[in-house]
Symmetry: C2
């Protein structure tokens, strides 16, 4: 179980040095919350689940055929797999891989010492300071895609930054993928809700990147949730078949509110999350050995008063630390955490919960972090202000992950010789040499004194964030695109829209 570097068959080499990567090259150590004995206990539980509890693969005859062909024991729809075999399967997936963006300067490396932040995924509602809370429309969606394109602290644009509820469900994926491809030049995800929608995403990616590039690289990735506990339905297995067979990347995420979709105890729920993700990785490796795979996990707690999901609480914070360490032991890229909260608005609760959730996500070494910005109300609403508020803090995490600069001049020996006891360093030569890059410049934090702050209208962070995202949209410029590629995408979307019925569920 030692850590083995495995380069993706489909991956390009990560940059050697890392001054200006469009993602985070982590230099800070990981936080290891468990000792060897504890890790072995948790891993034994994972292995026990493979062999004794089993995982149901339901409603997809092709998935059943794949398991049977591999000679894995099934009882009814339940797969009972030898634990060593599952681990050997997982070892076939690369420990890191590159997802190419259409703008090559924005390609990201997922896995290893790299961390990639992406916005919220899947909210049916949006909220902003002027418009309040409402069902999200495609107009909202396009604005959110533009903001994600522009924000320097978001490295990946995800997919469903909000659900465009004014477009039929049957066609929504085409407009969403098209918007990400044309309004944005960062890497993004494809659809998973139905097999043909996954295929549409892959086909559009082939148009955007070209067949040869796609044959040899990851150009699109998809995220799908298991039906925890212990159930992997056809949405998952079909998405894996579409994306993995094409050498594209899959994130499979057990969604576990402990006490409901998993046991109420952290140790058991973390082991369950590992086991569900690993059995899906094993399946993906049957579909195509070496297919890039990200171990997802989404663990949170609940309110004892109401059964409502809670976020940013100590149990999921601890879970992030544990799952980070466990994922490093299987040497697979990890998705976990995010800036999560149960708050309805961008208040103290939202920020405390998001910060604790994201701080632990950051230290835990989550390689791909969905929901890193914009999440409100347990994921039911995307906040426009929340998106830029969270993203402003992501810049701070980026700096922390850079670790300590210990080059000689950072020790400032000349400054200590220059400055007298009780004096100050403001004018010292050392300060002059370094002040421009010394501190992270948080755009949405106001550090002025109370008088200056009152003069400017006593704005809280939310009001400043409202101005910020509006100013960003005013300054938005659509990234250039080859006209032939755009025409081909247009034609593909038009053809598929003509073929598909309008369905609203």
């Amino acid at each position: 179980m030692a850590r083995r570097p495995r380069r993706a068959r489909t991956g390009t080499k990560a940059p050697a040095a890392a001054p200006a990567t469009p993602y985070i090259k982590r230099r800070l150590p990981f936080f290891d919350a468990l000792d060897e004995e504890q890790l072995i206990k948790l891993e034994s539980q994972v292995d026990w689940m493979f062999e004794n509890i089993g995982f149901a693969f339901r409603d997809d005859p092709e998935a059943t055929r794949i398991w049977q062909e591999a000679g894995v024991k099934m009882v009814g729809d339940k797969v009972f797999a030898d634990a060593q075999w599952v681990r050997a399967q997982c070892a076939k997936a690369p420990s890191e891989f590159t997802q190419l963006a259409r703008n090559p300067e924005r390609s990201v490396v997922i896995g290893g010492d790299n961390q990639v932040f992406a916005p919220i995924y899947g909210a049916p509602f949006v909220r902003d300071l002027e418009g309040g809370r409402r069902y999200a429309t495609f107009d909202d969606f396009e604005k959110l895609v533009k903001l994600t394109h522009m924000h320097p602290n978001l490295h990946h644009s995800g997919l469903v930054i909000a659900e465009p509820t004014d477009i039929p469900v049957s066609k929504r994926h085409l407009d969403m993928v098209y918007a990400h491809m044309t309004l944005n030049d960062k890497p993004h995800l494809g659809a998973i809700t139905e097999k043909s929608r996954a295929q549409d995403s892959v086909d559009m990616a082939e148009i955007l990147h070209g067949k040869e590039t796609m044959d040899n690289n990851v150009v699109i990735m998809a995220n799908v949730n298991t039906n925890s506990p212990l159930l992997i339905d056809r949405v998952v297995t079909e998405a894996i078949q579409v994306y993995s067979s094409r050498g594209q990347a899959m994130v499979v995420t057990p969604f576990i509110l402990t006490g409901a979709m998993g046991p109420v105890s952290t140790a058991a729920a973390v082991a369950q999350a590992m086991a569900e993700a690993m059995i899906c990785c094993a399946f993906a490796q049957l579909v195509r050995p070496g297919a890039p795979f990200v171990m997802g996990n989404f663990l949170s707690s609940m309110s004892l008063k109401s059964g409502a999901p809670t976020f940013g609480m100590p149990e999921p914070v601890l879970s992030n630390y544990l799952i980070g360490q466990l994922a490093r032991r299987v040497n697979l890229p990890l998705r976990c955490g995010g800036s999560l909260t149960a708050s309805k608005v961008e208040d103290g609760q939202a920020a405390y919960e998001s910060a604790d959730s994201m701080h632990s996500t950051m230290l835990a070494g989550s390689h791909f972090t969905l929901h890193a910005a914009g999440w409100l109300e347990g994921g039911l609403a995307t906040g426009f202000e929340k998106l830029v508020m969270d993203a402003d803090r992501l810049g701070s995490y980026q700096k922390i992950l850079g670790g300590l600069d210990m080059s000689e001049d950072q020790f400032a020996r000349d400054a200590f010789e220059e400055v007298e006891p009780g004096g100050h360093f403001l004018g010292s030569a050392h300060t002059m040499r370094h002040y421009q890059n010394a501190f992270y410049d948080a755009q949405l934090s106001d550090s002025e004194n109370v008088e200056s702050w009152e003069e400017k209208g006593s704005q809280d962070m939310r009001q400043r964030a409202f101005h910020k995202w509006n100013a960003m949209l005013d300054a938005y410029e659509q990234p250039a695109m080859d006209p032939g590629t755009k025409e081909a995408l247009d034609a593909y979307v038009a053809k598929r829209k003509a073929e598909l019925p309008d369905a609203w569920y």
Copy 2:
């Protein structure tokens, strides 16, 4: 430089097990951000400062005499000490000690694997939702002392939770210490602003605890800041002489806004903070070998736009991790961090910054955390709402620090055998056995759905906090006190007030 357990001469033994300590028994590992080579580099810089830069001890002839008597080299008022000698002096201080509270159930252990949270210290202003921002009065102060007495997540009551600005500076310390002793039964700090005020605090502690108890235990502690950079004035050395000579505990805190009171680079500023605290510890050990000493540090960054101090930013977050690791290497208790922010109000900024600051403080292993709750506006204002908002989150950190429960039943094997794929654990026997203690119950987080939340008036966290602290004050009951002790304290305060002039500066 290996870690040596050193029990305080004056300390009582920490409880063996830790089910219900009135402070945190940490079970989570510390976060070590630096490797051995980096640590040695930083420690070499600390040692270089002792021997080559020197620290000015100014305006206290008695301090000069103590240094000279110890045979330490002085050039003018600057002490140049052999690094190994400083380290040997620091090794005389206990690695952990108990501070007795007047209620023995609330005594705290400072150092080792223990963590103690205390409220904000030193703000001249208060802010609350109804009364707005205003100069703090003694009425505010008493309310804050009561709230600190009541809040289960604050283990220590500090001292200047806000400055009672309606009482003369010359007498303020008497009223503050008296309020902590009579309205509150948690451990607290004594005054340091002037030698006689320190002595009054020590004398009152002797009345409260009795001479014999005080001879053999720490019953009061004080916190004082150096005049960074490189200057230790008589306020510091006199406080050390008063408290340390009586076997009571001192926290000495370099207050460094990097770029002003220290170099703009984190590595240099962290080494400076260590060196300033260690030279003061060496001095305290000259005053009384074995005197309990807490290495303070208060490192933050500044805005490049205005030079205003900033808090919760990546540089001080990283500093917390570094200083935690360095302090463990000298095996001394540490004070660092807190719930710090530059925000004027209890908005998202305040909460993000406070959470990042406090999360890193918690993981770094700060043994005594002043400013753990209530801080606004760079420490200029104590927020009533902020106090209970922060303190609510401290309960989450307390749970995280408890680490992972790995007792057998936490693995829930019976639940996995009971629940079907796609089923739920809500009614499982395992959930029934554990749900009552499974999750931290955050009092001020609202996790209800948006409809319920709107029905209750769409209150944000700040509004809920306003109701919370008012309800707490309504329920406040003064802790019982021996009438003879109270009379003696009353008499002491009356006598000293009669002796002292009214001075307002």
